[in-house]
């Protein structure tokens, strides 16, 4: 049974179509990156998975309909949303008390052990913590829950580099194992490229690319081509081309590696570069979003 199974998932807000028929299947033990420009439907898709919004089409998460069984589903699913949503009036100790009170799979000792490694005090209120510390607190709560699916919607937005790196390191080293599934959306794609097992590009409510990272690495190549080879390279029909320091940087889809090696240095493109190639063209917003990912 897939962890997430969506068939023809649709959602419209008035005349605006946020999800235009999404088919998505995520197996247990995967780390899926859901990448798309602003307004592409990522958050709507995640909200549907979390039972926060109604939807059309079929959707099963861990075998349940999230919209109908949100409260029971949440015993097995955790999420951190794009804004710091921990209530500002709450004390750290109250947050621990409350989650321990309502969550059957919460290990308080583990959360406290994690918090002990940070500068967060139990008597502090959330409003007194920095944004990075609030995320640490949220992460401490989440990691102490023995959940099967973790959904992260822009979890590191607004955090500095150290917090961001620590966030993903902690997640990978102390939390993730093959029995858990993680779905993450972020614009800072280069930070998660090495942890993903699967990749989905979503644009205007549709999935435009879905691949495992193994396939990604075998299918897409980026070649640094010097001017004298550029004509030969272009004959192989790159899906994207840009200029860097007077040399052409060409992105190829499903072209035999052996034919590319003579043209220049071949490497795996970054997700951000592929994103620009696949989505970047038509929409300015997409470019901007991808640019954020590439430069942040």
């Amino acid at each position: 049974m897939p962890c997430i199974d969506a068939r023809g998932l649709r959602k419209a807000f008035g005349a605006t179509v946020a999800l235009d028929g999404i088919d998505l299947s995520v197996e247990e033990g995967r780390i899926l990156g859901l990448i798309g420009p602003n307004g592409a439907g990522k958050s709507t898709a995640l909200n549907a998975i979390l039972g926060l919004t109604s939807h059309r089409g079929e959707l099963k998460v861990l075998g349940r309909d999230p919209w109908k069984e949100r409260d029971r589903l949440m015993a097995d699913v955790c999420f951190i949303a794009d804004v710091a949503v921990l209530p500002r009036w709450m004390r750290v100790s109250q947050a621990l008390d409350y989650v321990a009170g309502v969550h059957p799979r919460f290990d308080r000792a583990k959360a406290e052990a994690f918090l002990a490694k940070t500068a967060i005090k139990g008597t502090s209120k959330v409003r007194q913590l920095s944004k990075g510390m609030v995320t640490q607190l949220h992460l401490a709560l989440i990691m102490a829950i023995d959940a099967r699916l973790l959904v992260l919607d822009e979890p590191t937005l607004g955090l500095d580099l150290l917090y961001r790196k620590q966030f993903y390191d902690t997640l990978l080293n102390d939390y993730f194992d093959r029995s858990r599934t993680i779905v993450v959306t972020t614009h800072q794609v280069e930070e998660i490229q090495h942890i993903l097992t699967d990749l989905v590009f979503i644009d205007r409510g549709r999935i435009v690319l879905a691949t495992s990272m193994e396939d990604f690495e075998q299918r897409y190549f980026e070649v640094m081509v010097s001017p004298e080879n550029i004509a030969a390279a272009r004959a192989l029909k790159p899906i994207h081309e840009r200029q860097v320091f007077g040399r052409g940087l060409l992105l190829f889809d499903s072209v035999d590696r052996g034919r590319l090696t003579p043209l220049g240095e071949v490497r795996t493109p970054s997700i951000a570069d592929l994103f620009v190639a696949v989505i970047g063209g038509p929409s300015d917003e997409a470019k901007r979003a991808a640019g954020q990912g590439a430069t942040a």
Binding site: G51, G63, R72, D76, V85, M90, V102, H138, D146, R148
Partner: protein, 310 residues
């Protein structure tokens, strides 16, 4: 299909400390109520402040207490108790009124604030249903606040009793007159009854405020108050009648019927026999109100499920 956790063996992490079945269904409710008290400390701070103000005023008046007591003892016996009880009744009413006001503002914020600061996304990330969350919020004005008001009032009146006894002793007046003339236990029974009556009678008001709180994108206070007033005005202008207005004032003040004050010409908070609880329970207004309260709460549950954060 729906036994997920057991299907995940070999986790390097420790097993969950508590088996899911060990958590009873009432625990999320209990903790949801506690969290409301954490967030809304005014629920108990405001009645405590009211009690402090009452005690302050009472201690100021204590200078005149011996003289007033002698005057009261000169009255006919039936009126002695009333005169002696007066400050205690005022204390109770002041704290109850504070409780009602605090309850109204609590309800207006209860489902609004969590959407405005988006903390609802955190609450909804936990295995607590919308029904449990809304019922926990409704339990505050219906049960928790009356309990707080009861305890604060009783303690306040105890302090007043101790204070008056000390002052009277010092003033050379027979302090036992307080205890013999004042039916203390009965007073507290009536208080308990009054709080129950008020909670039930105002249930549709609490429900309405909670529903508006869950619906309004901004200014829940205005949305809660102005439409009913507008309805009164429209009715007056269009039909020159005042039925809706009468309905509203009946809802706001109709609970006094529970004390059968006018019918028997008795003073409120007078001896328990003067109270006709059966008549109150038989009043259609009570049950109609409770039906409305249930409908409003059902709408509030629906809204919490469907409305997005603001």
């Amino acid at each position: 299909m729906t036994t997920p956790s057991d299907a995940v063996p070999g986790s390097p992490l420790d097993p969950p400390p508590v088996a899911p079945a060990a958590l009873s269904a009432t625990r999320p409710f209990y903790w949801s109520v506690r969290r409301e008290l954490w967030e809304n400390r005014s629920l108990y701070v405001a009645p405590l402040i009211a009690a402090g103000v009452v005690l302050f005023a009472f201690s100021l008046s204590a200078i005149h207490l011996p003289r007033h007591r002698l005057e009261a003892l000169a009255l006919e016996p039936a009126r002695q108790a009333v005169a002696i009880a007066l400050p205690y009744d005022f204390a109770a009413m002041a704290i109850i009124l504070t409780g009602v006001i605090v309850g109204a503002f609590y309800c207006l914020g209860a489902l609004h604030n969590e959407r405005r600061d988006r903390s609802i996304l955190f609450w909804k990330s936990l295995p607590v249903s919308d029904l449990t969350a809304v019922l926990a919020k409704a339990a505050i004005p219906l049960a928790v606040l009356p309990a707080i008001v009861f305890v604060v009032t009783v303690v306040t009146q105890l302090i007043m009793l101790a204070l008056s006894t000390a002052v009277l002793l010092a003033g050379g007046v027979d302090a036992a007159t307080t205890w013999t003339r004042l039916p203390v236990l009965q007073m507290w029974l009536v208080l308990l009854y009054a709080l129950a009556v008020l909670a039930l009678w105002y249930a549709p008001i609490w429900g309405w405020l909670l529903m508006v709180s869950g619906w309004a994108r901004r200014a829940p206070f205005l949305w809660a108050v102005l439409p009913p007033l507008a309805l009164c005005v429209v009715e007056k202008i269009a039909f020159d009648t005042g039925h809706f207005g009468a309905l509203l004032s009946y809802r706001l003040g109709g609970f006094v019927e529970a004390f059968t004050v006018r019918r028997h010409g008795k003073v409120p908070l007078d001896p328990l026999p003067g109270i006709d609880a059966a008549a109150f329970l038989a009043a259609p207004g009570l049950w109609l109100g409770l039906a409305f309260a249930a409908a409003f709460l059902a709408a509030a549950v629906w809204l919490r499920r469907y409305r997005d954060p603001i």
